[in-house]
């Protein structure tokens, strides 16, 4: 005898909740939207105001200083290629989104990560949430972003922050929990307060791990920002998107290669940064 199990209207509930949230908090979302848009425009304008060769030189100089000559040369070649392909402006737009999304993600993630490391209860609550955030297909975040923030870059930032934040939280928590307990004991023995322990012992010792988390956040942010072209974010992603729609694989690959170059540059640069901090 088959029992008719009614379908649980999960989707309906979520939609209801989202509608309620958007109408109830439209003031807030609009304010956030405006602030974010201003940030994006400002950074974008600043980066575009510089002629490509100047920005290229600056980036190469940073690579040289933080990492080594190899990265500097590779970076120069890669950026020159992007410029040559006429993808400079989309690259800057993508970079802007990545930088802003990462900043927001890190500013939220580090305090949350610290608190989770110090409170067993928060740790247990937050870990499944992080799993959820990371395993939910990235596209899904784009959908609720639109009613909140409309089509465009702000929605892209919102979805990107949610998608890329988990590793920064996770690694911060991990880094602090990994501090050897003898060192905590030593700090306690000398009468350190919680704050002193955090600032003088736990944070400096977890810094390399936190940096590794930030590195991952940047990589995830880059991948998401590209996907976010589907909801109207500018940048290299929208070049790919256009190539798909017009069936022009050549253009698509060119934009794809530009993404790869940007990714490698950001990755090596942040890795070098965290290594430099360590020694």
């Amino acid at each position: 005898m088959a029992i008719e199990i009614p379908r649980i209207p999960l989707g309906g509930w979520i939609e209801g909740a989202l509608t309620w949230l958007t109408s109830e908090y439209s003031m807030v979302t609009r304010a956030i939207s405006r602030a974010t848009q201003t940030g994006i425009n400002g950074l974008n304008d600043a980066l575009m105001w510089l002629p490509p060769w100047a920005l290229l030189l600056i980036i190469v100089a940073i690579c040289w200083k933080v990492a080594n000559a190899r990265l500097a040369i590779g970076g120069a070649a890669g950026l020159a290629l992007i410029w040559n392909l006429g993808l400079w402006n989309p690259m800057i737009e993508t970079l802007t989104l990545v930088v802003i999304a990462t900043l927001v993600a890190v500013v939220i993630a580090i305090p949350v990560g610290i608190t989770a490391a110090l409170s067993e209860r928060l740790y247990r609550t937050i870990m499944p949430v992080l799993d959820f955030m990371q395993t939910m297909p990235a596209f899904v975040y784009l959908i609720p972003a639109i009613p909140f923030f409309g089509i465009g870059s702000v929605s892209a930032i919102f979805a990107t922050v949610i998608f890329s934040m988990p590793p920064a939280i996770r690694f911060t928590t991990l880094g602090i929990r990994q501090v050897p307990k003898e060192l905590i004991e030593a700090a306690d023995a000398y009468g350190a307060t919680r704050g002193q322990k955090l600032v003088k012992v736990q944070l400096p010792l977890s810094l390399p791990t936190v940096m590794a988390g930030i590195n991952q956040t940047i990589m995830l942010a880059l991948s998401m920002v590209v996907i976010a072209a589907m909801i109207g974010a500018d940048g290299l992603g929208s070049e790919v998107w256009r190539a798909i729609q017009r069936l022009r694989p050549g253009d698509g690959f060119e934009a794809g290669i530009a993404v790869v170059i940007l990714a490698m540059l950001l990755d090596r640069l942040t890795q070098a940064l965290s290594k430099e901090r360590k020694s």
């Binding site: 030593a186 000398y190 009468g191 003088k200 400096p204």
Partner: protein, 415 residues
């Protein structure tokens, strides 16, 4: 040594139960059950039970016991890195277990510096910054703390290493940093949990000697933990012997060796007991240097300096021992223009023959700190016995391997 000394820390009725039902465990303890039975019945570990002892101002108190006897638990209860289950720990009138959070921090800053078995240095800080740690926590201003830390590093022989990181140093040097961190802090009590156990034997011996020198210079109240009888005998003014979380005996090294409280202690010092048949001869050392009765104080001072002595024996032309001169007396004599060492010599030391039994030497050391002179029947100086040498001899006779083992035999024997 036997005068009344001020009590720095008074510990009374201190107990610690590891587990969620401490009351139950203590009830069983009061019914006379021991640690293993309590563990069987309740799953609670009786870490410490009814500990009573005093730490005197300026003494070096050693807490000794086998692995698991509760030494680390005890020392951590003093500064509440481990919360005691019951009991009193009074330091300068303050009962530590009753302190609130803030008062506890203040108490730790003022009263306790700690040195750890595995050093526990901060790897991201330079040697200098490690030494400054305690002062930084207390909010001393940078210029001042840098100065104090520098002095502390000098004291432990690490000047020139300020900018190195701990990972660049050998184990012995790392522990010197640990010691400097503790000394710089200038808290009133120094806690050392197996501070030298991770060092290899030669370095360990050096560190023990240096600690003794620091101790005689600064008279810092020190609680030192070790599982090593040799070490306890070498450095301890008094020794607290722990077994299964209880005190079996408290006493000077001499008392522990000569009047063991029970079979457990007797077995612990079994090897050492053989020392009763040892004589002064076995502990005697060559005299490093002497002065002639015709020498002046300047010569005496120079020889003491050359050989690192605090005092030097005076002999006449027939090698006969006629007196002893101390460095201080010699320099006074020099200032006052006295010409002969004999003008300021003292007879305030002990002389013995080669046959003197070793355990008599202990008592002598408690009266005089000078090396004991060993003479032949014509009063000619043959050699000297220093305190460390007596203890070395006893410890050697005890054979460290035997000491490290009795855990299994004793628990088996007890059951």
């Amino acid at each position: 040594m036997n005068e009344e000394r001020n009590v720095k820390i008074r510990v009374r009725n201190l107990s610690k139960v590891f587990g969620s039902q401490p009351k139950k465990a203590l009830e069983l303890r009061d019914q006379g059950l021991k640690r293993p039975e309590i563990l069987d019945k309740t799953g609670q570990t009786l870490g410490l039970s009814n500990i009573d002892f005093d730490v005197h101002e300026g003494e070096l108190l050693v807490i000794m016991g086998l692995s698991g006897s509760g030494k680390s638990t005890l020392i951590r209860c003093l500064n509440r890195l481990i919360e005691p289950t019951e009991g009193e720990i009074v330091i300068d009138g303050e009962d530590i277990p009753t302190l609130g959070e803030k008062a506890l921090l203040e108490c730790r800053r003022r009263h306790f510096s700690m040195v750890f078995q595995n050093f526990a240095l901060f790897p991201h800080r330079t040697v200098q910054k490690n030494a400054e740690f305690g002062l930084e926590i207390r909010g001393i201003d940078p210029a001042e703390r840098s100065e104090i830390a520098r002095t502390a590093l000098k004291q432990v022989g690490l000047d020139g290493w300020e900018d190195a990181y701990p990972s660049q140093l050998s184990g012995g040097m790392q522990q010197r940093v640990g010691l400097a961190r503790a000394l710089a802090n200038d808290a009133s009590v120094l806690l050392m949990d197996e501070a030298f156990s991770a060092l290899d034997p030669l370095i360990r011996g050096d560190m023990q000697q240096e600690l003794l020198q620091l101790q005689s210079r600064m008279q810092k109240t020190t609680v030192f933990i070790t599982h090593d009888l040799d070490e306890a005998l070498t450095i301890g003014d008094r020794i607290v012997l722990l077994k299964d979380g209880e005190i079996v005996q408290i006493g000077t090294p001499e008392e522990i060796l000569t009047k063991p409280a029970d079979d457990y202690v007797r077995r612990f010092i079994e090897g050492v007991d053989k020392a009763r048949i040892l004589t002064a001869e076995s502990a005697m050392r060559r005299v490093r240097s002497t002065v002639r009765d015709s020498d002046g104080p300047r010569t005496a001072l120079r020889k003491m300096r050359e050989h690192g002595l605090d005092s030097i024996y005076i002999i006449d032309r027939d090698q006969q021992l006629i007196g002893l001169i101390e460095a201080e007396a010699a320099s006074q004599a020099l200032e006052q223009g006295k010409e002969r060492v004999t003008d300021v010599m003292t007879q305030d030391f002990r002389r013995v023959t080669l046959e003197e039994p070793m355990h008599h030497l202990f008592a002598m050391f408690s009266e005089h700190s000078f090396p004991i002179a060993v003479v032949d029947d014509q009063q000619r100086l043959l050699g000297v016995v220093v305190k460390g040498a007596v203890l070395d001899q006893l410890a050697q006779a005890a054979e460290p391997t035997q000491i490290a083992e009795p855990s299994t035999t004793t628990t088996a024997g007890d059951a």
